[in-house]
Symmetry: C2
């Protein structure tokens, strides 16, 4: 593959060239030499960044597909960044759902990108906002960041979106899954998918009661609970209206600016940690030797960490 | 609470004092001033560290409880370190399963510890091996590390156990959940729980076929698939035999030593990252100011990371 010319690639991506766009994202993700030049060429965008999460099986991909359809019917362009090992976007050709998503793959107003979750969530915590920033700067109206809402790191990736949508489904085991992993705390909008199934009303009621129990000050956003049947498109227009309403509220209340600053702080932190991890990888032989001593019990792990990273020897090159 | 006297606390913990043990683990987890002294007082142990993971709903807690019963009947002591937001150990009083576990809470040969997953998996990646090392050094025969097998960070926490047990259950959605998040790659033993339910044979067969498809060299361990009905204790004795068999194989093949070294390397890396994160927290005002500039678009995130952590200013104090 020939070297990426950032100026040319950005121009092509703006003109709708998907290959150019993908190569730009890869460059930004991998923090390649041209990443910062790309950052300068693409000014900050104004996309509405929507984080979507929920336990496996609630229907994240189906709901995302239904949302894309609704947004497209309203003339908006959509990019999806999937950071979810159980997603058909990232999970290979395992799930039948993939077919459903491919309907959108020929639409020039839709772009789908899966982030390689292999090994390093620290890296993803930095790579995801970088990809989102680029897609926003290139003019997408809506950017969906999809993760599975179980691991803390995955939850942290979506929590800094402008609007956080938590998906639930009835009959997924005892009680509301949102109470696990702190999803109740981070949700701006809740959707109960598969609302035509038994138990959906109970799920909706329990969720509503939990949200109502949270103390709110005047003017704060009270997260709504929307019943949805994503496979039929039912409730999806309402859901889109509520996501819009949250965006408006956040812009007017100043909450949007605070969330964007928190997102930037998380991204900067992730970048620093990534640099340090790279530094550790560069000292692999040293690390192995220290690890062998820790494993045999002749050295403490904390002592080994100090030996690997002494105070007078900065990790950042 | 009065200051922890490490020598006294270790003596008390060895004598079966649970409060002393809990305080020692907290000290090690929080990397308090006495943590290294505790490390010196407690020599490396010889516990069999077993990582247990699987998707929410497969019955991790019920299976762990059944395993504890079987191990106890064989005269072995067991410590459980639960790092699972969906576990009754960590998930508060939400699940009825909790009652089942409390049966063991009065048994002096069983110790259950939940790790606070709030916020920082980086921290947990360091705190979990520290707690495991301490429990091993204090003489527990078996240490179970339980996580929910969805997030990459959670999977990384169990993958370095001496033996990794992956739990599956029939009818949990399309295909085998183990294929997601790389669980198939890290499992040493697979158990299909709820094997009295429809579809259990299919799950077992599919899982067996996937394992059989993995290329193995001579002398390598071929992960077995065990049907279990944890609520009835069915298959649990077989499961314990197979976990033992893997331990024997690993010890004889040299694989155990390699795994322990990898675990130490992961712990050292996590400790370094933790120190760096602490350094970033100490510069909160600086980070906020940089984040505000990144959010408004006047500064790139990479540039901000460099300003926060310049090469001539080491993060480690």
């Amino acid at each position: 593959m020939r070297t990426l010319d950032p100026t040319e690639a950005v121009a092509r991506a703006r003109a709708g060239d998907r290959l150019a766009l993908s190569r730009l994202i890869s460059a930004v993700e991998e923090r390649s030499a041209v990443a910062e030049e790309i950052g300068r060429l693409v000014p900050p965008g104004r996309a509405h960044v929507i984080g979507i999460t929920g336990a496996p099986g609630v229907g994240k991909s189906t709901t995302t597909a239904a949302l894309i359809e609704e947004w497209r019917s309203r003339g908006r362009t959509v990019a999806v960044v999937a950071v979810d090992p159980s997603s058909p976007f990232t999970g290979g050709a395992l799930l039948g759902d993939r077919v459903r998503m491919e309907v959108h793959s020929t639409d020039p107003g839709v772009y789908i990108r899966s982030m390689a979750a292999r090994g390093q969530l620290g890296g993803l915590a930095a790579a995801t906002p970088a990809a989102v920033g680029l897609l926003s700067g290139l003019g997408f109206d809506i950017i969906v960041v999809e993760t599975v809402g179980v691991g803390q790191s995955e939850v942290d990736i979506v929590r800094y979106a402008d609007t956080v949508l938590i998906l639930q489904a009835p009959g997924m085991g005892d009680r509301i899954q949102a109470t696990k992993a702190g999803l109740l705390e981070i949700g701006d909008v809740f959707a109960v998918n598969k609302s035509d199934r038994p138990g959906a009303n109970l799920t909706k009621r329990e969720l509503g009661a939990m949200i109502a129990a949270k103390p709110l000050t005047a003017g704060q956003w009270r997260p709504p609970v929307v019943p949805v049947v994503a496979t039929q498109g039912e409730g999806v227009a309402d859901l889109v209206d509520l996501l819009d309403a949250h965006q408006d509220w956040a812009a007017n209340s100043g909450s949007a600016r605070i969330r964007r600053t928190e997102r930037a702080a998380a991204e900067i932190t992730a970048l620093v940690l990534e640099v340090v991890q790279r530094g550790i990888r560069d000292r692999e032989a040293e690390l192995s030797a220290l690890a062998a001593r820790v494993a045999e019990g002749s050295l403490g792990a904390s002592e080994a960490a100090r030996l690997l990273l002494p105070a007078d020897r900065p990790v950042v090159p």
